[in-house]
Symmetry: D2
Subunit: 356 residues, 4 copies
């Protein structure tokens, strides 16, 4: 089943295992004639790459992207774009000892239950490395969307109990945790390094904002724009929740507070409690999304688990891991948002080519 595919018009299919030959994606359905910079793809991959800073894993991968098809003289041709990065620093022997054990918080047990066979090397397909293809595809989507208006920013807004008060998105790219609040960023970094010190990891929250999305994108029932965003976000490894606008906090409001009054504001709205989406369709305001990022599963601390035969064992996961994956989730979440939006745009253009 094409369960590795996202998007029905601009369709992205990722492939590859963490310790296989390569990882990548096929983009099918990119509209023709759009100029694509391979450097801009590489830039996004570099933001996702391991080994960027003290708070990320030290695995060494250049993640150099190769575009094998679908571009001609620097432009999309409308045919499938094959994006590939060959794996370099795959130390599969690190994983040999994990072959017989189900790591807590990992998908080892569930892959075994589902498939009856699993590539245990570096989590195989369940590795965060699968997201490389998403980021590359998303970088193409972003380049196509940019001239139309949409612009996507994201950052870490919470790590453990440290919360960002500011939303200075330019700042977010300047610190190792990608926090849009400089002062909170410093505290977040401390919390992360303290967790690593304890051979442990921490969770957090990432916020994604899509600005400049015109009103009228998204579908109204089963494929609401927020439903597609939710699906996109929860398809990212380690994400356990998503909220739009006020989200869960909105439960505390009354309708008279939560309903965004209209008047002389941008696009007519005076507030944005609904996060830029009403009835599954964009309002023209900022689309505001937050996602819950669980603490990284791979920790060096001793944990109680079972082996493949069900016998209890203790495990310490050695190796090169992220003590907090929020900073690396940021470019992935942006990419997924871009994939949702480029599809919404194409769908709206199919429906109403007269006005798009």
């Amino acid at each position: 089943m094409s369960s590795s595919t996202f998007g029905r018009l601009f369709s992205v299919t990722t492939f590859g295992e963490s310790h296989g030959e390569a990882v990548g994606a096929i983009v099918d359905g990119a509209p023709p004639g759009h100029a694509i910079s391979v450097e801009a793809i590489q830039y996004q991959l570099d933001r996702r790459r391991p080994g960027q800073s003290a708070v990320t894993t030290q695995r060494k991968e250049s993640d150099t992207i190769h575009v094998l098809s679908g571009l001609f003289e620097g432009k999309t041709t409308g045919t499938p774009i094959c994006l590939i990065a060959y794996n370099e620093d795959a130390r599969s022997q690190d994983y040999e000892k994990l072959k017989q054990v189900y790591r807590p918080g990992h998908a080892d047990m569930t892959y075994a239950a589902k498939y009856g066979i699993r590539d245990y090397r570096g989590s195989g397909r369940a590795s965060g490395r699968e997201t490389l293809g998403r980021v590359a595809a998303g970088a193409i989507a972003r380049q196509i969307l940019a001239p139309l208006g949409p612009d996507i920013v994201a950052g870490t807004v919470q790590v453990a109990d440290v919360r960002a008060d500011q939303r200075d998105w330019a700042e977010a790219e300047k610190n190792s945790v990608r926090c849009p609040d400089k002062s909170a960023a410093a505290d977040m970094e401390k919390v992360i390094l303290a967790a690593r010190e304890d051979h442990d990891s921490v969770g957090g929250v990432v916020e994604i904002v899509a600005r400049g999305v015109p009103a009228g994108w998204g579908d109204p029932t089963m494929e609401k724009l927020d439903a597609e965003i939710a699906r996109a976000m929860l398809s990212i490894p380690a994400i356990k929740g998503v909220e739009i606008g006020d989200g869960f906090a909105g439960a505390l409001l009354r309708g008279s507070q939560s309903n965004d009054a209209m008047g002389a504001g941008p696009g007519g709205f005076l507030t944005n409690h609904q996060g830029g989406i009403l009835g599954g369709i964009s309002t023209g305001q900022d689309i505001v999304v937050r996602i819950a990022v669980k603490p990284a599963s791979s920790i060096a601390k001793a944990q109680q688990t079972v082996d493949v035969s069900g016998q209890p064992v203790e495990i310490k996961i050695e190796g090169r891991h992220d003590p907090c994956i929020c900073p690396r989730v940021v470019p992935v979440a942006e990419a997924m948002m871009a994939l949702v939006l480029v599809n919404a745009w194409l769908r709206q253009r199919a429906l109403r080519g007269d006005v798009y």
Copy 2:
């Protein structure tokens, strides 16, 4: 675009406007030979029906379901099942005055932006009435799933700032708010009626638990089980957030707490912080989901808005509305969970018919 369809194997397409001739759904892909009770479908529709209690709208609809195809001698034949309920108490004249106005919190403005035309009578397709077809289809899915083990319960666990401490699911069906905590239920009812008194509405949180789901259901990347659940839940009107297991609260944990240790517990797990899903695949534990329900948009209180030409106007939405939609969201959320699960089961059976 088939944006009114949910599910690729057990596919449900809803149709119908709030004040049109009828609402309903087509179920395509139900496996053949399963006994289906029409009474059991009606039972679920009655749980969703308006006018059940003091805390729901007083619109009068019998919501009698008609099965026009796909069943033969009480069993599924594998062909499309057409489920239909004719509208009865559609007072379209109530809406004539709203024709020129965008109601705050409603999809009026976004439908206009998207389609350039809208059926303004009773919110047309954006009405909660669209969910009738989902509940009917979900009732079929539940009957097919039941013999396999999965059983779905849900209830209102928060209204405004009143939270349920208990999870007594049998209790949930006994009170008007469908709260699994008898004492919290009474407080919730008070909060809702107070809001109605103020011509206002309140939001809340609904929790859905799927019990008895075998390990191994769901797909690992773009169509993770939790991603599909998230999409299903945010496709329900008025839902603004979803979380699985600890969800957003998990951001406060460390990996050593959040990782569910394995040992001699049911299915091997000692805790269930992950909400029964790892790597997008079911673990065999309870699948625990919570959704944020925004305050109902239709309130009689005066609100500031604009008309279709952008001129500011004040609006009071008279009519028959729900001051809190949580109780009526409960059966809809259960239905959507059932649709996710029946698809996951069929997909897993396609993949590994040898063990299913």
Copy 3:
């Protein structure tokens, strides 16, 4: 599985059994704002209706179409359109005796093999009656396409060994076999009535021509325009072959004959051996398609077959049947062509809204 759905953008899902409550279709994805005449839908259904002439079945059905949703003030709203016709003259008792027998040439045995259960009344879902929903949906597609240029005609060009020499499409609607050659039509009618006299049936060939389709519609690899047409045509009951342009006769040509030279002709082409499609994409010329229609399966003549337990029996199929289904295939094939084209148009508009 949504195997009753045709089209990914303009999606049509049919439902209903021959002797159930109703037959019909849901159209999801119709672009908004298009005026739709219900009379024009009914006109197409009347062309498909039983009992039109001496050469069709005498079953009496008014086939009155009801549009339950998706139109507002005579226009599409972009939401699902539910089209339904209630069954009237369903004499299920005629079929009671066929319950235990597999009729030769029918899908009785294969439905049993596939589903393990079957609605044997009037062939259930395998009845030609299933095509009613297709014709109704196609009539909507045609009304949307018409202002864009495409116009679809079709007719019976062969019955048994009688072949049409002319392609006078206006004539096709004037004779009972829908043959675009008046003189051949008379011979075809004789051949059909002679077959009925013998309690037998005859096959034929139907030709469909889509005129006014712009160059550039269709996709180049897996979803070539001709591949979609082929799928559409072979999804019609009793169709056993399809060819585009010269089709099978083209095997006898050399490349220098078969390649359509370009010059000062319409759209640049001097001939149309390729039937208006090159590389899966429309050339702007007429799209010319022929389909092989097998002799109707239901014949009153004695036939050798087996019952559900595998015992040989002799069968004579009494009842009201078509001795040649070509005339009634014509509107169905036109409808399927319209569904292919409306999807191709929407897809092309998604891809290149700038020029469409």
Copy 4:
């Protein structure tokens, strides 16, 4: 749009241009635990490879397949399988002169009309080279299907007016035209070489037979097994027609001849006029399909055409071309049949896992 994808459960997406970096395919949805021989994939590619014999193009490509993901210890893991072959003998300079000209019979003009941009080197994506990924994916499908019974054979049964009388499938692999009739094969080869001598090409007919397919595969309405086969076959470059069983010749029969009587034959059928499919579902008999293959478009003979500005020009297509593509269509058609069947099997297993 994912128009480069075939199959909804076992999904194959091809990528790559004739003169780009590589061609290949992603297979998503292969069921886990099936042993796959890479040599068996290579064997099928070698059957499709250019330069096999005097009657095929002399382009030199080793077409060595690389499997970059989805296999582990020789077995499918259920995750996407990336299949890739790097292009070697791409002489793009041959095509520089064709940049400004629309070759007759080719997709040059239609690609330009559709996309407004085209990779003119070696036909880009419209090249027969795109089928490499199909054959590789089909080779995996065949290995999965083989233990279940289905076995696919094919051969050239007509070239120009030379027709095969025999169906000796073992013989088909022994001659250069892949004809299952040794004596006809010699005549076919003469006809092809004569056409090449004249700087021209010839067309033909290929027959594909799937043996050992159980009764009950395929869906009954929009996705009939024959409709899926038709779509699959017409998605292959240069195919202009398809017929099942008697196909167009069946138009000449009466129902009493065309209806396959049942009795003591294999699976109960005494004849196979219907080609193994009734009502869109397999009968358990051989599935018999024939496809019309047009004369190869690339010929060295002078042809009249226009350039991109619409000016008439004469063209002679130099280079390395196939004078008859039937022999190379054979493995591609077999592969497409395998892709249809593996999907039908998985769908049937989803629907009725109890009996599969």
